[in-house]
């Protein structure tokens, strides 16, 4: 009988805990409900996938990142807009374990914009594009050319001396106008990134055709994140 008040308070505390925990339990409930809905709903899509024939070849999806090298000296001072230049694939591209694009295949890029460095500290500018790679007489179109950046520096432009020029002009007068900017120079072998423009389907080699059923979907093993 003496313990009754204590028992009452214990019950009260435990009921408070239950009340406090209730929202968490309720919040956790939608998980299984959603899972059930997903499990029940998409039967037509699942049937479609099951009925679709397995891809006969190896699919290299569009926007697959590639590592390429520029095989010609280019620069904001020496290059002209519209000029083309040779490129080369640096890393082989594998789909589902099969090499579809070997390292060393060549192609072409284009100078989209080139401007020499100028007075008043203006930096030289160079904008390039990767157009295509060629393999067995077939053109693999490319897009999204990017220089590999080192910090804030990029080969897309030279040393920008605009700030120095402006300060010199403010301090020493028009002499600041005659401070030039730097040109950018791309040496042969410079590494850059590009992506495939289109989905490309390659024939599966005879050995790969004999692979057991249930082979996983083609996986591009060259996938890297572009900076």
């Amino acid at each position: 009988m003496v313990l009754k008040p204590v028992e009452g308070s214990v019950r009260l505390i435990s009921s408070l805990f239950v009340l406090l925990l209730q929202p968490a339990v309720v919040a956790a409930e939608p998980g299984p409900v959603v899972a059930e809905a997903v499990a029940e709903a998409p039967t037509p899509a699942a049937e479609t996938v099951a009925e679709a024939p397995a891809p006969a070849g190896l699919l290299l999806p569009k926007t697959t990142p590639l590592v390429i090298a520029i095989d010609k000296e280019l620069g904001s001072k020496i290059s002209q807009t519209g000029e083309t230049f040779p490129i080369r694939l640096v890393n082989a591209v594998l789909v589902d374990g099969v090499e579809v694009l070997p390292a060393g295949i060549t192609g072409q890029g284009e100078v989209v914009h080139a401007k020499k460095a100028g007075l008043a500290g203006a930096a030289g500018e160079l904008v390039l594009a990767a157009r295509y790679l060629e393999h067995n007489g077939r053109r693999i179109e490319l897009r999204s050319f990017r220089f590999v950046e080192a910090g804030e520096a990029s080969l897309g432009k030279g040393q920008d001396n605009t700030g120095v020029s402006n300060i010199t002009t403010a301090v020493a007068g028009p002499i600041g106008f005659f401070i030039g900017g730097g040109n950018t120079n791309v040496v042969p072998g410079t590494i850059a990134n590009a992506k495939t423009r289109n989905d490309e389907l390659f024939e599966r080699p005879a050995q790969a055709e004999t692979a057991p059923a249930g082979t996983p979907e083609p996986q591009v093993e060259n996938r890297e994140e572009l900076p």
């Binding site: 989209v112 500290g121 203006a122 950046e149 990029s154 897309g156 402006n166 028009p174 106008f177």
Partner: protein, 165 residues
């Protein structure tokens, strides 16, 4: 007994309160720390034009035009930016000032954002606007507090992309 109950409630509620407060604090930190660049609409690419702040040439605008067009796309004041949504492909831009003009051609790619920086450089009588290719790293490093160009300084197409609704 009341003290015991109060202590029990505080003890039980504390973890819940901490868990509920933590995500909000993290979200605020991210929102404050990094400017979010919008993604281009499907099938389109975009260019982010920006101009850093500074005293030199602060009174001059950097009006950006399509090459050959008479109407400007927008005009960049010091510390301002705007986003131009565009069809993929090459596109040329020019900036004009009293003494000279400068041009830049870019290859716009679907689903991607490119960056163009405008600067006002020294001229004989007045500053000269100069545009050049830039990168997201440079934009984030040199443009700490980007502010969108005022709506009245944009063409209709640019305004719709930057001030939707």
């Amino acid at each position: 007994m009341k003290k015991l109950l109060a202590a029990a409630m505080i003890a039980a509620a504390a973890p819940v309160a901490l868990i509920a407060a933590a995500p909000a604090a993290m979200a605020e930190e991210m929102a404050e720390g990094e400017f979010k660049i919008p993604t281009p609409p499907p099938g389109k690419g975009q260019i982010l034009f920006y101009r850093t702040g500074g005293i030199s040439g602060a009174a001059l605008g950097c009006a950006v035009f399509d090459v050959g067009a008479e109407d400007k796309l927008s005009s960049l004041g010091a510390g301002k930016y705007f986003v131009l949504v565009s069809d993929p492909g090459p596109r040329s831009f020019t900036v004009k000032s009293l003494e000279t003009k400068d041009a830049l051609t870019l290859e716009i790619e679907e689903g991607e954002t490119q960056f163009v920086r405008c600067k006002i450089k020294t001229g004989f009588l007045s500053g000269r606007a100069d545009i050049g290719p830039s990168t997201e790293k440079e934009f984030r490093a040199k443009h700490k507090n980007p502010k969108l160009v005022d709506a009245e300084d944009m063409s209709d197409a640019v305004r719709q992309a930057n001030y939707p609704g």
